[in-house]
Amino acid sequence: MSVQELMQQGLTQGLTLGQAMGWMQLLLSFAIAQQSLEHLARGDRMIFVPRLGLCLLMALGVGGAWPLWGLWVISLAMLWRYQGPYNGGSDKMTMLILSCLSLAHLAPTPFWQEMALSYLAVQLVLSYFVSGWVKVVNPEWQRGEALRDVFRFSAYPVSEGLRELADRPRFLFVMGWAVILFELVFPLALLDPVALKLALLCAAGFHFSNACFFGLNRFFWIWLCAYPALIWFQDRIF
């Protein structure tokens, strides 16, 4: 089979429910292990050593759903320890994926398994669409001022040098609108399997640039973990 045929097959093929859950658990093992190692550099061994161990078990497929349920309990303990998410949206997405996968494993019938994964898929679509919607109705985003402010004075740019981008208003205006439009049209990608894969590639690129500009590396890894749910959902519904 040629590379071109392989690529075409990858772009058009969907996933079964079992495959999607398997991929998500594997990706999640890596993403949570990465988060845990960063935390261990700071302390909190009581939480993050067991968390790392459970990631290893889940990656190896040992213990059925127990490592997943264990990770869910630890994520709840983390919410208590930090009195909210430690890393904002990335911790929320971690907990959301763990909750949906945990429920899928607890589900008494395939129907409820599908419901749990569908909920995650819908939330993933909303994570882009709502984010685009709140920007497009805001005059500051429409004028390109908001993205300038992000670079000008927000806490996110990873170096002072990046603040100079605030002096390129036309560039930021175009980039701001590109992000808004991409987020708003993202749900339309569900209509076609190839369009969805391409949209997910663009979305991964968007998270990668956020990681480079704003240091949001955990967002990149954890959003990737939810993508198999959407690939399954698209194949199942459309």
Partner: protein, 143 residues
């Protein structure tokens, strides 16, 4: 139990309103106090002037310092929206642990400065000033 539920529910019913508005942005400043005399306010963990592509790519996999800094931004925002001792303790602890051990200072104090834009001007507003706390016990503690 209710508190735990209030922390858990937004994770499974998220709002996803990323960057809805660019709100005033907090910076933590600290000063050391030795023998009753307070030093100058300094910014906690100032950003580097530039970051090379190699370091940016490494940070995709290993970024504990920056992620802690983002957590401190969350603690600062929470301290203003819903003041709690937890936020004060977390900021004190993590600021103290970023300082070199063995400093002559006896106490640490921090304040929250919020940056915002008024027209074309960036304005700074001090919105919170903590009570000084002994430094040595904080530096001896694990996070």
């Amino acid at each position: 139990m209710l508190r735990l539920l209030s922390l858990f529910l937004p994770t499974v019913i998220p709002s996803w309103r990323f960057f809805k508005t660019v709100a005033p942005s907090p910076r933590i400043e600290y000063r050391l106090i030795a023998q009753g005399s307070a030093g100058a306010w300094r910014e906690d963990r100032p950003r580097p002037a530039h970051l090379g592509m190699g370091r940016i790519l490494r940070r995709m996999l290993w970024n504990p310092d920056w992620n802690e800094q983002l957590y401190l931004v969350s603690c600062s925002e929470r301290l203003i929206e819903a003041p709690s001792q937890h936020s004060v303790d977390e900021i004190n602890l993590r600021v103290a642990q970023a300082l070199p051990v063995g400093a002559a200072a006896q106490a640490l104090q921090f304040r929250l400065v919020f940056l915002s834009r008024e027209g074309e001007e960036i304005v700074k507003l001090v919105e919170y000033e903590s009570k000084p706390v002994p430094l040595a016990p904080l530096q001896g503690r694990r996070v």
